[in-house]
Point group: C2
Chain length 329, copies 2
């Protein structure tokens, strides 16, 4: 059977801890070279883009792809397809808007687990959207967070976010009026925005970095987007990315840092290396660390499978049968 999952089904079948585990396993698999993860394809459309990201995970026995397409005018849509890698069955097709946010959060969770100070108790969040939510959830899943601050330009948004997250996560979270205040004196920073860098619009600045803190930045996944400034790359003593190739080719933040000469490849490691124990996530308690993510199809397929399994368990979704017929060569 192939299971179709709507946005609502995916929401109901999502558990951030399960996704953190699945993605960590996926990264180990990537480190073992048991995956195929080609650079994703970005095709231009009349008003936007059509992005296709496939992956094969041989040890997990999974394969699939995400298609993310749209435009600023018409809006965007996300689809993830998950297949059984061994026998080729199409297990599920799912709306992946929510999943994209949770898998991004879950990946931050994995990075935070390996990179943040073990005793981290406080968090500063810049952004109040879905990605800010899932990233904060994931940080709280891997560290005993007790308190935090959130900044978002619109007062109602940051206050709603703080109230919602206090309730949901049981942490003392307050809304603050500047980004600098949000990230001042905290152990872990989460930057999760859609800022464009037009004018002086940068969400986070390297001069705010503090000794021993860990920063996660998950925006700027396109060349037109900016989120953290070039100085951030300079002040970070260790930088971990989810995909070096994708990062260097597609992130506006990286492009700017490379242009400014603040991006030192010698400081940069891929997350899979850290998870596999081949590189440290943090060398000592004073180190300033940065995790920067653009997203990979491994994250999508791993998290998509977790959602599919849970959806089956809960009886969610629409079973459209063996819709793809098996043929012989």
């Amino acid at each position: 059977m192939t299971l179709l999952l709507t946005h609502r089904d995916v929401e109901r079948a999502t558990d951030i801890k399960t996704q953190i585990d699945r993605i960590e396993q996926g990264l180990l698999e990537e480190a073992r070279d048991a995956v195929e993860l080609p650079p994703r394809l970005n095709l231009a459309t009349t008003s936007g883009f059509f992005r296709v990201m496939p992956a094969v995970m041989r040890d997990s026995g999974l394969m699939g792809y995400k298609v993310f397409h749209g435009s600023v005018q018409h809006g965007v849509r996300y689809l993830i397809a998950v297949y059984d890698e061994k026998d080729g069955r199409l297990l599920s097709l799912m709306d992946a808007a929510y999943l994209t946010a949770t898998r991004t959060g879950a990946t931050t969770g994995v990075a935070t687990k390996y990179m943040a100070p073990p005793e981290a108790r406080t968090v500063g969040v810049i952004g109040s959207g879905l990605e800010a939510t899932t990233n904060l959830q994931a940080v709280c899943a891997v560290r005993p967070i007790e308190a935090g601050k959130v900044f978002s330009p619109t007062q109602a948004n940051r206050e709603d976010f703080a109230a919602r997250m206090r309730e949901q996560l049981g942490i003392a979270l307050s809304a603050v009026t500047t980004p600098e205040e949000a990230v001042s004196g905290v152990d872990i920073v989460v930057v999760a925005t859609n800022t464009t860098g037009v004018g002086d619009l940068i969400a986070y600045r390297g001069k705010w970095m503090e000794t021993g803190s860990h920063v996660n930045s998950i925006g700027s996944t396109g060349l037109q987007l900016r989120e953290i400034d070039a100085e951030t790359f300079q002040n970070a003593e260790r930088i971990v990315v989810d995909s070096r190739v994708q990062m260097e080719g597609e992130s506006g933040d990286l492009k700017a840092a490379m242009a400014a000469g603040t991006y030192d490849r010698a400081k940069v490691t891929e997350l899979k290396e850290v998870v596999a124990g081949r590189a440290p996530g943090r060398s000592d308690s004073d180190e300033i660390t940065l995790f920067k993510s653009v997203g990979t199809a491994i994250q999508d397929v791993a998290a998509g499978f977790a959602v599919y399994k849970e959806a089956v368990r809960q009886g969610l979704g629409q079973d459209v049968g063996e819709f793809l017929e098996l043929k012989t060569f």
Copy 2:
């Protein structure tokens, strides 16, 4: 709405002439540089492959992809997704096993229309499978074919094919006992096999080529497959391919011809150039011409859209609603 189409739905919604028209339009669009057609991605799986082929057609207002995956042991599956390129709606997801055969046939139809002698009346077919069927259908759609011969190694297969095609196409088609006999004295040749080249297994040999004839070869779409020998490339005076990059990278026939030194790039044109009138398909009535195809996502999306339109008209398929939710950035 998104329309799910099964193998049977696709069969019922297929018309080879419509597909020939659609693919011809797609090739014109390709010639105008109004498409995005990146090299397809081939990912290795434990026992086979996972192939992802996306395309954007801006003038047609379409985009989509084919995913073709499987293995010799477990069998293969084909999926085509067709989207509205302007507003991003997912129009249809369809089983594309049958469609792959018909779009390959329809592409041969376009090539034959431009390359075969205008007065062609006879055809020789090597192969008796689904691709042989669709290719013969397409040839008969663009030329006033009256008679032909078919060879396939298994007697029952070639005789069944001849009987079925006589009935369906109203031509005098006879089964013959050697490939050479099948292609001797005919105006147009169709080679549509899955031969591997193991031992001496080549379906067609260049020494059989005759003055003024046109040969279509649509097998050998992987490096492990062989269909026509290296001499065929030498004896062909004009060679047209659907995708030069894909052909040179993925066809076992091309690899062998390049190794033998019989593949002369100066003789090779892409089909879009011929359809756009920028290169002739045939220079005179004596010329020996060869069309060789590996398949492109433009063919898939163009033909997929034709099937979708006809399925809507006939009320076929399963409407799964607006299964992908529209989001804003």
